[in-house]
Amino acid sequence: MTKAEIIKAVNEKIGFSKRDSAEIVELVFDTMKETLERGQKIKISGFGNFVVREKRPRIGRNPQTGEEIEISARRVLTFKPSQVLKSALNG
């Protein structure tokens, strides 16, 4: 499923025009990206939580050469599915 298919579903299921559906769907993903970029979490009840986490620097190893390299501190995005979503997948 792609963004285009989500737009199509919004258009077909609830009858918003394709243009309106596309505008809002784009705004939703853009807003989520802006929020996460600001380091804030997003909680979608019934779906899951998107959480930004800080990772401390650590020593990694190049698996090819065995060489040790420092993996720098970074910020990563994690998704914790809601219990509702997890149950929905095993209904």
Partner: protein, 128 residues
């Protein structure tokens, strides 16, 4: 940010749409994505990320608290991978990380795990 706050922000950006319509669309989006994952269909939103349902086969596990044997049934588990654009925007951001003060109360609490040592609490704060 909660779903209702997301709806507020999107509605503010789209003044020609009543908030009620934005709410219906947002709900339909997440419902549609849930149904796709139920059908084990991969979802790919370019620039944002992808969701997949992965299969976990049945296995024998143990209750880590009691050591008791339990059988863990076969199941499907949702996973998300951030897309390149979002991953880079999150990592390159200089905004301070928002303090995580809420309790994720929409989640059913898992069995408590043994307390992990506090990560660099304010000096002198943790006694004993």
């Amino acid at each position: 940010m909660t779903k209702s706050e997301l709806i507020e922000v999107v509605a503010a950006k789209a003044p020609n749409f009543p908030k009620r319509d934005v709410e219906i669309i947002v709900n339909t989006m997440f419902d549609t994505m849930t149904v796709a994952l139920q059908q084990h269909e991969r979802i790919e939103i370019r620039g944002f990320g992808s969701f997949v349902a992965r299969e976990r086969r049945a296995r024998d596990g143990r209750n880590p608290r009691t050591g008791e044997k339990v059988s863990v049934p076969h199941k499907w588990v949702p996973f998300f991978t951030a897309g390149k654009e979002l991953r880079e925007r999150v990592d390159n951001s200089s905004h301070p990380l928002a303090k995580d003060t809420d309790d994720d109360s929409d989640e059913i609490q898992a069995a408590p795990r043994p307390a992990a040592p506090a990560i660099s609490a304010a000096p002198g704060e943790a006694k004993g």
